[in-house]
């Protein structure tokens, strides 16, 4: 096969290899509230998976486990590496976690500094850091915002910059918590197009069922700390009684 050079620099492991494996994950918060009861899932390279479920189902808790911010009982493997205390920095470079509120994600005074934060902490030389910042901003179409102040941006702009802050680490897995929450239709559309274009394995938690239908071939449904369904989005969205039982709605 002829080799073609794609403009996008975000590389992927071979199609078919496992990017994420979660086995029997349990977690209780320090106050005794139990959030995860034996969650298991598997994501292969190139998968784009929606994670849906009512509030309090454990979606956010699960996401905080995938790069080791929370540590429950069970196994988390990223690209074949089991997550332990020793390889946390390496895992965090592979897993790009984008938080729901971009004001929490963007903590530096300028856009450039925020996007450069990850690469700088990976110990990359200056030229590489700058190249990665440029590539990440290019990928979210925000190149002209490089020197802007974060608190001057609109919510939609902040959201895209927030995604750039993890793209600059060249992650193998992109995890987004409610990316379309609080966006107006135009900003939401821009975001959907962006997510569709990005050639990265992603797990996206959302309540936006239209987004799920449009963008994700596969859906995982969580409720009360368990995975209650994992399959083709078209099948899951067909089953209205199932959706209602878990506090969801057919789009």
């Amino acid at each position: 096969m002829p080799v073609t050079h794609v403009k996008n620099s975000f590389s992927q492991p071979e199609i078919g290899s496992d990017v994420l494996t979660v086995k029997d994950l349990h977690f209780s918060y320090p106050d005794g509230h139990s959030a995860l009861h034996g969650v298991s899932m598997k994501l292969s390279a190139g998968d784009k998976v929606a994670l849906v479920g009512p509030n309090g189902a454990g979606k956010s808790t699960l996401m905080l486990h995938l790069n080791g911010i929370l540590g429950g009982h069970g196994e988390v493997e990223i690209a074949g590496q089991r997550l332990t205390r020793d390889n946390l920095p390496a895992i965090r470079a592979m897993v790009g976690l984008v938080f729901q509120n971009p004001d929490d994600q963007l903590f530096s005074p300028t856009v450039f500094e925020d996007v450069a934060f990850g690469p700088l902490h990976m110990g990359l030389p200056e030229a590489d850091v700058r190249a990665r910042v440029d590539a990440a901003l290019e990928a979210v179409r925000m190149t002209t915002y490089r020197d802007r102040l974060s608190h001057h941006l609109s919510v939609g702009e902040k959201k895209r910059i927030a995604i750039a802050t993890v793209l600059s680490m060249n992650p193998n897995l992109l995890i987004l918590d409610e990316p379309s929450a609080g966006l107006d239709p135009r900003a939401r559309r821009t975001l959907i197009n962006l997510l569709r274009e990005l050639p990265i394995t992603m797990l996206v938690s959302t309540h936006d069922m239209k987004l799920v239908q449009e963008l994700f071939p596969r859906t995982i449904v969580m409720d009360e700390g368990r995975v209650v369904a994992d399959g083709l989005t078209t099948d899951i969205l067909e089953d209205e009684t199932f959706l209602t039982a878990h506090g969801l709605e057919k789009p």
Partner: protein, 263 residues
């Protein structure tokens, strides 16, 4: 919703704006320290310092009166020094009765009070000018490169980033209260002072809790991108010959001010 009341930076293409932020920060600090070291009643030095300030104002293209207008805000703080009027021994120039105490203003006390006012007034103006001609992130970088401890520059950077977010939060809280502060027809709105105080207290508590939880989420976001206790930044600034000349010139001027103040 943006709340930019604290952003004092003024976009311009002046000589001072283009100067390296390190030079600006350093000269400002030296100017303020020099002011503090001037003896009382060094009128010539005060005038000289003021001329320096006016020259800086002109170079910034913000106009001669730019810092003068804004410095009035800080003037009330100088009134803390009012006690020196009565506490320095010297010839009495004015006496009056204040409740039960008999107060005497002395000439030495008056001299010191006026000197303190002038010194703080000059210093505040220079600081206002610094913030007006330097982008805040650049200022933080400058402090980093001037070897200010990382913990301080980090706190300042976070303060700057989240001041706006917190102000928005405060306004949301106040708006939520306003929109439910209704009154039945013919009745006075609200209850007693104590009740209102309790509401205000709850709001302050809310703000603290929200900020505390936010700090947790921010820390998680930092951890997710590899934070391990140390902040790294890239130096985007480079000292040009002009920057060295200006630093040298400013130090000479400030030195002359000191000499004028002492002889």
């Amino acid at each position: 919703m943006h709340f930019d009341a604290f952003d004092r930076y003024h976009e311009k293409e002046s000589f001072l704006h283009r100067l390296d932020p390190r030079v600006k920060a350093l000269v400002t600090v030296i100017f303020i320290v020099s002011n503090a070291l001037l003896p009382d009643g060094a009128w010539l030095a005060f005038v000289f310092g003021w001329m320096f300030l006016i020259a800086a104002n002109l170079l910034s293209q913000l106009g001669i009166g730019y810092t003068l207008k804004r410095s009035l805000v800080a003037l009330p703080f100088a009134l803390i020094a009012i006690t020196v009027l009565f506490s320095i021994p010297g010839e009495p120039i004015f006496t009056f009765q204040f409740f039960t105490s008999h107060l005497v203003i002395t000439d030495a006390g008056f001299l010191r009070f006026v000197s303190i006012l002038i010194r703080s007034w000059l210093s505040v103006q220079m600081a206002i000018l610094l913030v007006a001609v330097t982008r805040f992130p650049d200022l933080i970088h400058a402090l980093e490169h001037l070897k200010v401890p990382a913990i301080l520059t980090t706190i300042i950077a976070f303060l700057y980033r989240y001041l706006f977010v917190l102000t928005d939060e405060v306004f949301r809280l106040i708006r939520a209260r306003e929109s439910r502060s209704a009154a039945s027809t013919g009745k006075r709105a609200g209850r007693g002072v104590l009740w209102r105080a309790r509401v205000a207290g709850n709001m302050a508590g809310q703000l603290f809790l929200r900020s505390y939880e936010r700090s947790d989420r921010i820390y998680n976001a930092m951890l997710s991108r590899g934070y391990s206790g140390h902040l790294y930044t890239l130096n985007a600034h480079e000292m040009k010959p002009r920057d060295y000349y200006v630093t040298a010139l400013a130090i000479v001027v400030i030195f002359v001010t000191q000499v004028l103040g002492r002889f």
